[in-house]
Symmetry: C2
Subunit: 240 residues, 2 copies
């Protein structure tokens, strides 16, 4: 990333943090792996334990690592359960997190259209992987969504025979891409005929529309996703 130079005026702990992030981004430290202790990191970078601690604490606040007293610090591992808890924000009327299933997922490669290229900041002519799917809860469809990803980062994703329900763990394990931040833009929309048919509704029914942009470690947009949701008594929860 940015090489150390004499004009770098960032605090020491920020530089150490940057080096640690790079090790996670590049895969030197794998998902779920135990990283060195505060003292070892301090010794390696020639800083005090307090400074190493501040760098690691920053990573913990960004949820790139998990600290456990007495055990050590581990690179975050995007298991399906973790991904749902962290990135899926829909709850039932009784406050229970919804765990959706995914059916009918199909992935294709195509030239990015204008909105995809703009959302993912792609060069003209770049390809995207498109995923279209319907998600169900207790057997009945409630979300229809379409996803676009830069083809360059996911070269053989469209050939994957059976796409899993949660994608972000696949992104981390198979493609080395860790999603760390999302921006969801929410609005309401009337169901178009296709979506109404897919969700078993009358055309014109009100749907929650979620347009999500997910970002990776280098702050680049990795995923663009539009979800049309028929929530019944459920809701999307946004905190603070």
């Amino acid at each position: 990333m940015s090489p150390p130079d004499s004009t770098d005026v960032r605090p020491l702990y920020a530089k150490v943090r940057g080096e640690l992030v790079e090790r996670i981004r590049s895969g030197v430290w794998k998902p779920g792996q135990l990283i060195p202790s505060e003292f070892e990191i301090a010794a390696e970078f020639g800083v005090s334990q307090g400074t190493a601690r501040k760098a690691i604490s920053a990573l913990a606040a960004e949820r790139l690592v998990m600290r456990q007293q007495g055990r050590g610090t581990f690179v975050v591992e995007h298991t399906p359960a973790h991904v749902l808890f962290r990135f899926f924000n829909m709850f039932d009327a009784d406050g229970e997190l919804i765990t959706p299933d995914s059916v009918d997922a199909s992935a294709t490669v195509a030239r990015a259209n204008a909105s995809e290229a703009a959302a993912l900041r792609l060069d003209a002519g770049a390809d995207v992987v498109r995923i279209a799917r319907v998600r169900t809860r207790r057997g009945s469809p409630f979300i229809r969504e379409s996803i676009a990803l830069p083809h360059q980062l996911f070269p053989d994703l469209a050939q994957t025979p059976k796409l899993p329900n949660t994608l972000y763990d696949l992104f981390q394990k198979s493609y080395g891409i860790l999603l760390v931040r999302t921006e969801d833009r929410l609005s309401a929309a009337a169901a178009d005929p296709d979506t109404a048919a897919a969700l078993g509704l009358a055309a014109g029914a009100p749907l929650l529309r979620i347009e999500r942009l997910a970002f990776g470690l280098d702050a680049r947009p990795i995923e663009w996703r539009v979800s049309l949701c028929h929530l019944r008594a459920a809701y999307y929860l946004a905190r603070s």
Copy 2:
């Protein structure tokens, strides 16, 4: 709040933080006021500067205070601009924060109905202040919302002649109640005839429904608000 006792096993910085929170909650430190320096707080509580610093940093992370290098630390002041930036999450298609106006606001006092009592955790028979209003942008109505507040906390609010556009600054300045956290539950709904008329729409038009619960310093729900929004190209932004 919780008196110091010998079985209190919280870390020192957490106890100091609690004392500082109490000073803000009780109004000993007023909105916008400069609080003592790290060294003064450290001396007062008999801890080191590092521990006082950690307590104050926790308050800054919760956005109860604002730190400014070279100037000092100030109790957060909920000005209208600050409240919009912090608690209003709607943006125009071009990414600009929407600054709504408020018209037709009316406040009344009534016995809490079942949903109000449940949301605000009120005792049976308690009263609420109800505010109903329509919010406009550039002259055209786009949000119809109804708000419920515990009457006990806002005894004379219903007599206030002209309610301001942003309420949370009024809550802090006139009633000493600082809102620190919100939970927004979002869904889609078809416009009922009344709402459609208020917003100039056809009945059945899809609206974004936002049900907000806002919490004060003692983690008690203070405000329950239901907003029905006709956003056109605008959206509600939820980060991470």
